[in-house]
Symmetry: C2
Subunit: 118 residues, 2 copies
Amino acid sequence: MDDRTPGCYAVIFTSRRTEAPDDGYETMADRMVALARAQPGFLGVESARGPDGFGITVSYWESEEAIRAWKHHAEHVVAREGGRAGWYSAYITRVARLERAYAMGDPAKAPETATEDT
Amino acid sequence: MDDRTPGCYAVIFTSRRTEAPDDGYETMADRMVALARAQPGFLGVESARGPDGFGITVSYWESEEAIRAWKHHAEHVVAREGGRAGWYSAYITRVARLERAYAMGDPAKAPETATEDT
């Protein structure tokens, strides 16, 4: 399916956005995804946010060490401070170890390219 | 923070909705959440779907046994068949064991009730 196999780690970040258009959030979020992709041990990221402002982002990492390194990345620390100060009204970060996975197609791809693989 | 403590399990369900309004999806989804809440070992559920149809639902469970029982629940099996047949163009289910969590407030609550707890 992909390289997010059992034994890798998922960081589940659930958050509620404050009601503040044009506060620089989108630019920061895009930058953080680009930065994360460049980190050693990064395996992938998925994100969804509904119209009510509640969102879930799950990033996948090869190891706890990779997660720790990303957590202490300078720019990421700055972004997190911003998140605490204003972009989010609340958030929870959960770190979990992947046990198993099963799929039909790939939801990260556009529908027309998804194929059944179960 | 809540009872989703280290050692419990998260089921990370990422999916892409087909473009089919009024196909009964919302009714089924609401019913599944209500059913899940009534299952032994259920700890919580969080869900977000963006305007592009990509969504993430994370449910939390006390044990692998609780997840298995829910997987084999008759109505859930029927709903899953429907998901395969039409509601989703693709999905991935990942089961992960929670290692740790840290929070600011509770993103599941409305912003005005969220309080800092870090």
